[in-house]
Symmetry: C2
Subunit: 204 residues, 2 copies
């Protein structure tokens, strides 16, 4: 098995990191643990073992275990808002390409881990961590509204319906899409196809 490789002992010396690097490595490890093994796997010991530091060192950098979890949520929420911002740009530069928009949002929720993050936040009740998402969502709504401004006064209502539609669906697909598609014998991108086909229903 070759457990406990000489993670630090390879050189026999400690590896001293700049705080920013230490935090970044820890958060990357924590995200990997969250996505692959669930929220209960994100512990100080597990993260420390992955990046070769002790749990006390993580407390030194994040203040507490809750501080690490909070920083992880902030990090992933920032990535999600960035992805939504990129989706806005993608839409502005190339409107009328629903599949590209759908892929951008679905990838953020699936591979970016936003789906599992949102589920974790919702189950644990830490809803305040979702607050930065509010602005990103409203930017997305505004961008879509501008693109389809000619549609009349019902535009805002239709656009919020579209955003609610794609976000809820992408979230559901990221968290339980795989087993559900397996039950139905459907292909991996069945959900994306459906959303891409229905999205014009809202916008046109």
């Amino acid at each position: 098995m070759s457990i406990d490789g000489p993670e630090i002992g390879a050189t026999g010396k400690r590896r001293r990191r700049v705080p920013e690097v230490a935090r970044r490595e820890a958060l990357a490890s924590a995200r990997r643990l969250l996505i692959t093994s669930g929220p209960t796997a994100v512990t100080l010991k597990a993260v420390g073992d992955e990046i070769g530091v002790t749990h006390a060192n993580l407390i030194h950098h994040f203040g507490s275990a809750a501080g690490l979890q909070s920083a992880l949520m902030e990090s992933m929420v920032r990535d999600l808002t960035d992805a939504l911002g990129a989706a806005v740009e993608q839409l502005r530069s190339n409107p009328g390409a629903p599949r590209a928009l759908v892929d951008a949002v679905f990838d953020a929720f699936d591979q970016g881990g936003a789906g599992r993050l949102a589920a974790w936040i919702a189950l644990s009740g830490d809803l305040q961590h979702l607050e930065p998402v509010r602005a990103a969502v409203r930017d997305l709504v505004d961008a879509i509204c501008e693109t389809f401004a000619a549609e009349g006064e019902q535009t805002h209502h239709r656009v919020t319906s579209a955003v609610l539609f794609i976000a809820l669906y992408a979230f559901g697909d990221a968290v339980i899409g795989a087993p559900l598609r397996d039950m139905l014998d459907r292909e991996d991108d069945a959900g994306r196809k459906i959303v891409a086909r229905l999205l014009p229903t809202f916008l046109f």
Copy 2:
């Protein structure tokens, strides 16, 4: 503060339950804790305090903490499959009423707690507990296919798309629908309206 009130001592005597009653009370309490406070709140002590027994007594009835969790998952999965079965009956007796079908599925995921349950199972990786759902989902697909058998050879594909659509959406709505609707200033049943409106797109 008046800690440790005479929980049992109110009568001065123990309350002896038949095993089936003890298990039912414990599972009801565990479900309430899961829905209101998340998976980490479902502990032997928390459940025991709610129903007035010790944590050792719960181990006596369920074998272990994992046994209680497993029984909770089974109980909630059974309720979900029952709800899906009822949706099948509802559809057979009154086809062409998408909102009623949508409400039945959404209520199962939201008020029944199936949404939080599914998120918990997905995050923790205990996918085998979803196995009983497979049969219920396939029954639902078959029932819808029979109802719309005249639609041609693409029927099965369209029906599985519809089931995937409503299930993923109901799940997403149950777990993160409330904060998302708040961000978008949308009404509580916005998701249900959207699904009810789009469902005929698949079936007709």
